[in-house]
């Protein structure tokens, strides 16, 4: 056995036995460092004659490569073992809870108003607004309810001590209808608007709160008639409830600001103790529920809004937004809407990303 063989055998054995990276490094220095034994052998090659070098070089070169390779392999093995040991010590109990990220919500009233805006945008209705602290004239007189009109008494109006610029007192609007007048005066005709917002009546029980939300619709054009009103309401309710079998029943009624006036009932069934819209109210197990008021805009109202009633006519309707929300999303106590109870808001509120769109359906499914 030659010298190189002896050295190789010894080196490989010791490398294999190296227990840690430090021991391995010491061996590298011992064999391949500047003063290393194998380095010394390599240096002897320079002093040899050509023939001797030709004879001995391959063995010495092989020795260097063999030892270098063994060192690298051992290092990789030691590193892998070290990583494995570290990973074994780093185990996390991932059943522990992650940090909370608070989940915010959009109020049902806002959600429903966004849904309505989306549906009516498709029908070409813009969204209009008006003041809630309103002039008696816009809330009543211009809507064909002069001072002595009995219908005024049915409005349970909240008043302020302040005199209104156009007569009477300032008041809290009892309906969104004054926005009809303001819109016609500001924009003339033709006109298609919806006007959502807060309205106020001095009334309080499980189904009435002194503040609630309404949405007003108004179409003024040349040849608009009751049939258009019916279609618009059907279309809107079908789109809103995402249900084809919404059946409406129109009943002649009376509002001072419309003529003819129509009250609109919608058919429902009782399912699991709750009213579910759909079907004719005359069908077995069904009933009719009063949902909204509407009619052809009274000529006097058109006239008081500065338009010529011989040229322009149209329809208007009003519906409770809170009521629509309750019917669609199943809340049963209106008062909870305005309490700010975070438990209620978390339960009935909507994700920020439930943005109503026509392509996805305006409603947010439970």
């Amino acid at each position: 056995m030659s010298d190189t063989d002896t050295i190789q055998t010894d080196a490989l054995a010791r490398i294999a036995a190296a227990a840690d990276p430090a021991a391995l490094e010491a061996l590298r220095v011992e064999f391949l460092g500047k003063q290393g034994t194998i380095t010394a052998l390599l240096k002897t090659l320079g002093q040899m004659g050509p023939e001797e070098r030709l004879e001995k070089a391959p063995a010495i070169q092989a020795l260097r490569e063999g030892v270098a390779g063994a060192l690298a392999d051992r290092k990789a093995a030691l590193d892998a073992a070290a990583l494995e040991a570290r990973l074994a010590s780093e185990t996390l109990d991932l059943t522990l809870p992650a940090p909370d990220s608070p989940r915010g919500t959009v109020h049902p009233v806002s959600q429903v108003m966004d849904e309505l805006a989306e549906i009516f945008a498709d029908l070409g209705f813009a969204v209009a607004t008006g003041p809630e602290i309103e002039d008696d004239w816009y809330n009543f007189t211009a809507l064909n309810m002069p001072e002595s009109h009995p219908a005024r008494a049915m409005h349970d109006t909240f008043y302020f001590p302040d005199a209104a610029p156009k007569g009477g007192k300032m008041l809290l609007r009892t309906h969104t209808s004054p926005v009809q007048i303001r819109s016609m005066m500001a924009h003339g005709a033709p006109l298609r608007i919806i006007a959502p917002g807060r309205v106020y009546r001095s009334d309080s029980d499980a189904t009435h709160t002194p503040m609630f939300h309404q949405i007003e619709g108004l179409v003024i054009d040349r040849d608009i008639h009751l049939g258009h009103l019916k279609w618009t309401l059907e279309t809107f309710l079908k789109a809103f409830f995402e249900k084809e079998d919404i059946v409406l029943r129109l009943r002649p009624s009376y509002f001072p600001f419309t003529e003819p006036s129509v009250e609109v009932d919608v058919g429902f069934a009782i399912e699991n103790g709750k009213r579910v819209l759909g079907g004719s109210g005359d069908a077995p197990g069904h009933g009719w529920m009063e949902l909204l008021g509407s009619g052809m805009v009274n000529r006097k109202v058109i006239e008081m809004s500065g338009l010529d009633p011989d040229e322009w006519q149209g329809f208007a309707f009003g519906v409770g937004v809170d009521r629509l929300a309750m019917l669609k999303y199943g809340m049963d106590d209106l008062r909870a809407f305005f309490d700010g109870d975070v438990r209620w808001l978390a339960h009935y509120g909507f994700s920020a990303f439930d943005q109503p769109t026509l392509s996805a359906g305006v409603g947010a499914r439970a």
Binding site: G124, F160, D339, L345
Partner: protein
């Protein structure tokens, strides 16, 4: 308004079922709110005859009866009524029947050991009256075995809502007329009650207030005998919800409910001198029939004699001259009052009566004589007496409106074409007169009909509004355009952004209490007639409502509340859209990883405020952080964000402990508010963004630590550093703040990381040195000194 089927059929000849009548009423605009059939309540009760009665062996006050029910063997019944006796015909409830008054289900039982198979009933138990002294006694010949409901002639009762424009339907006859027009039967002709009278009216009748009382007709009836009204009238009145009182009173109520025609009957013996319609004097008083005294003023019309006021005209009669059981001579009054005057008087006095409801909406001006004769006839038939001639003062409106109509209008306005002949038939059935060229004369009683659209309504509602077909609204050309205003878009965007940031949207009352308003400096708009003291002042800020919501949530055991609201503040100069957020309690609950809970602090509010401002398109970088306004916030932990020194668009910070105390909150609360209408509108109108290409060379950062005066706002230093070399410095941020050991008293150390963006060529040492010098110089101007 309630009426029985039996009463309706007195005026309307029809075979229609209750369901058909109900459907038709709804279809023509008379909303049916309910239908009650007394027969349902009386199921299981029948006419029965007591055959024998013997004392109960073990109870002094009870008897054991045998009762003939008309079928099978007689039943044994134990009864406690003192009037129970052999031969009595009464009403027996058998097993299974439910006693209307108390809901008790009758069953076979033993009472003190004696078998009992039912109950002999009192009127009170069957809810037919108040009598409970004994069991009902029917006439001897009442047919035994007949269901009691059938014997009694119980008739289904309709409860309908009459819209305020239809006073003519505030009487059964008017409803019958509408139903007949809709094809549900034939209106029966009214009795011809023309009564001339046999002697001159002995009382002078005058109207000194032709404006408030244009017409006042009257006559005297002598020698009447007041007493209970007959069964048929009592039954109709009871079905309508009126308690029978005496024949004379019942007759006036009957006239009102049957024909919508209020009238008044005075006890002639209590009147002195002429009976006059006049204005009341200021301060004049009257004791009304409801036993309350009303103080009147000169806007109110009254009926008075020499002694004083006897009637608040058209609203309520006076107690003094009201008819009594012993009354023998009466004065009848039928008048036409000005609807507006009645409304004003009624509102002023806060007095709502059936008479006012009808006069205020307008009774039939053409039916004064008819009404008076009808009233006279009823009194004479039920109470006897001799009638005087009629005395008439003034005259009711008599000029009928004539409306130019065109039959095509049903299509143009109503969306349904109706055959011309059918239109004529409908209008005639409703007493309109139609000329060949469609001049429509409106019956005087129809105060609501003013123009052609009203005629359309009449025709369409009788023809059937369900025949109006749906017609799509014409659609605008092209694609649908956006319809929301910029303000609406901001609100929608912020709402969803705030929710995405973890806040729950609340909707709180627009009105708050004076106490809540005081916490934010008081409100400008205070209601005259609030529904409660808690809902009285229009909020000048959204904060009180949200703080109260925080308090309620905390009281319910919440530990962390994040709420926001988008709504209006109500100020002198109008209504301002606003977003307010409140963060209360714990930002982070105690946990396994970080230990103790951490409360919210002012920077949480700042962070949300700035993020939302950015969403709203506000120039967040340009906003100055300045001192807070008002004393809602902690004076040292709150700020306003301003576009200019006087233009605050937002605020944020910790709520003042005194404010929290006022709201009963004992956890820290931070809040922020954004004045949505103060955010400047976006300038850019297009979609394209400004050009941008990522710079080819990498940015470098350099750190600087400055010793600055302790009271120097960090934001000032940051602004100075950023502005030191705008060509190179693209960002700067503070990464350390230190006071204490190593930092001289009165100073603090602020460390800033500055990001530099090279342009075409990389920085050389000299470039970096020059930039650093400029940064140090800028800090120096604020008293900053580079730390070694």
């Amino acid at each position: 308004m309630k009426f029985s089927l039996e009463w309706l059929k007195y005026f309307l000849d029809t075979d229609a079922s209750v369901a058909e009548i109900s459907a038709t009423l709804n279809a023509i605009g008379i909303e049916v709110e309910g239908i009650e059939d007394p027969a349902d309540k009386l199921a299981g009760f029948r006419v029965a005859r007591v055959l024998t009665a013997r004392p109960h062996p073990d109870a002094d006050k009870l008897q054991v009866l045998t009762v003939d029910t008309g079928e099978g063997d007689p039943l044994q019944v134990v009864c406690g009524a003192p009037n129970a006796r052999a031969g009595l015909v009464g009403v027996l409830g058998t097993a299974g029947a439910v006693v209307p008054a108390n809901g008790m289900v009758l069953k076979q039982s033993a009472i003190r050991g004696q078998e009992s198979n039912g109950m002999m009933c009192s009127t009170r138990e069957l809810e037919l009256g108040d009598d409970h002294d004994g069991i009902i006694e029917l006439p001897e010949d009442a047919p035994v075995g007949t269901p009691f409901a059938q014997y009694q002639g119980a008739s289904p009762v309709f409860d309908v809502a009459i819209t305020p424009n239809r006073p003519d339907c505030m009487g059964v006859y008017g409803i019958a007329r509408d139903l007949a027009a809709a094809g549900l039967g034939t209106l029966k002709p009214l009795r011809d009650d023309k009564i001339e009278g046999t002697f001159p009216c002995p009382v002078e009748i005058r109207t000194d207030d032709p404006d408030g009382c244009p017409a006042f007709y009257g006559r005297v009836i002598r020698g009447v005998k007041n007493g209970p009204s007959p069964e048929w009238m009592q039954a109709r009145l009871k079905a309508a919800g009126q308690r029978p009182i005496s024949a004379l009173v019942d007759i006036t109520n009957y006239m009102m409910l049957a024909f919508g025609r209020p009238a008044h009957v005075y006890d002639l013996a209590k009147l002195t001198g002429p009976v006059v319609a006049r204005r009341a004097q200021d301060g004049e008083q009257v004791l009304a029939l409801n036993e309350k005294t009303y103080t009147l003023d000169r806007t109110m019309t009254v009926i008075a004699d020499e002694a004083g006021v006897h009637d608040i005209a058209g609203i309520m009669g006076g107690e003094h001259s009201s008819v009594q059981p012993e009354t023998t001579d009466v004065l009848l009054e039928i008048a036409y009052f000005n609807p507006e005057t009645i409304g004003v008087t009624g509102r002023k006095l806060g007095l709502a009566t059936d008479a006012r409801t009808r006069f205020e909406r307008g009774v039939d001006p053409a039916w004064l004589d008819g009404g008076l004769d009808g009233l006279t006839s009823l009194i004479q038939r039920l109470c006897g007496g001799e009638a005087s001639h009629v005395m008439r003062a003034g005259s009711p409106p008599s000029v009928a409106k004539v409306v130019q109509y065109h039959p095509e209008l049903t299509q143009k306005l109503g969306g349904v074409a109706v055959d011309e002949a059918e239109q004529r038939r409908i209008l005639a059935a409703l007493d309109f007169t139609v000329s060949d060229d469609w001049q429509v004369t409106v019956p005087l009683r129809r105060h609501d009909v003013e123009g052609a659209p009203d005629i359309v309504e009449e025709v369409v509602r009788i023809h059937g509004i369900d025949k109006v077909a749906s017609v799509p609204l014409p659609r605008g050309e092209g694609v649908a355009r956006p319809t929301a205003t910029p303000q609406q878009q901001i609100e929608r965007r912020l709402r969803r952004a705030a929710a995405a940031m973890g806040l729950n949207e609340a909707v709180t009352w627009s009105f708050i209490s004076e106490r809540e308003a005081a916490a934010v400096g008081g409100g400008r708009w205070v209601l005259d007639n609030p529904i409660s003291e808690d809902l009285k002042v229009m909020r000048p800020s959204l904060l009180p409502g949200l703080l109260s919501a925080v308090q309620r949530n905390m009281d319910r055991g919440a530990t962390s509340v994040r709420l926001f609201e988008i709504g209006r503040r109500y100020l002198e100069d109008g209504e301002h859209p606003t977003l307010v957020g409140v963060l209360a309690g714990e930002r982070v609950a105690r946990g396994w990883s970080q230990g103790k809970a951490a409360p919210f602090d002012a920077f949480d509010a700042k962070s949300l405020c700035q993020a939302l401002l950015a969403e709203a398109g506000a120039p967040v970088d340009k906003l100055m952080v300045m001192e807070p306004i008002g004393d809602v916030y902690h004076p040292g932990q709150a700020a306003t964000l301003r576009l200019g020194p006087k233009n605050a668009i937002a605020s944020f910070g910790a709520i003042h402990p005194a404010t929290l105390k006022a709201f009963g909150i004992d956890v820290p609360v931070v809040a922020f508010g954004i004045h949505l209408d103060a955010i400047p509108a976006r300038k850019s109108a297009g979609f394209a963004r400004p050009h941008f290409a990522p710079p080819p060379l990498q940015a470098v950062t350099r750190d600087f630590a400055f010793l600055v005066p302790a009271d120097l706002p960090a934001g000032d230093l940051l602004r100075a550093v950023k502005g030191a070399d705008k060509a190179n410095i693209v960002d700067a941020r503070i990464f350390d703040l230190f006071e204490g050991q190593g930092v001289p008293e009165g100073q603090k150390s602020l460390a800033v990381e500055v990001t530099l963006q090279p342009g075409e060529t990389s920085y050389k040492e000299a470039d970096l040195k020059a930039i650093a010098d400029r940064v140090v110089a800028a800090a120096g101007k604020l008293g900053g000194e580079l730390r070694g």
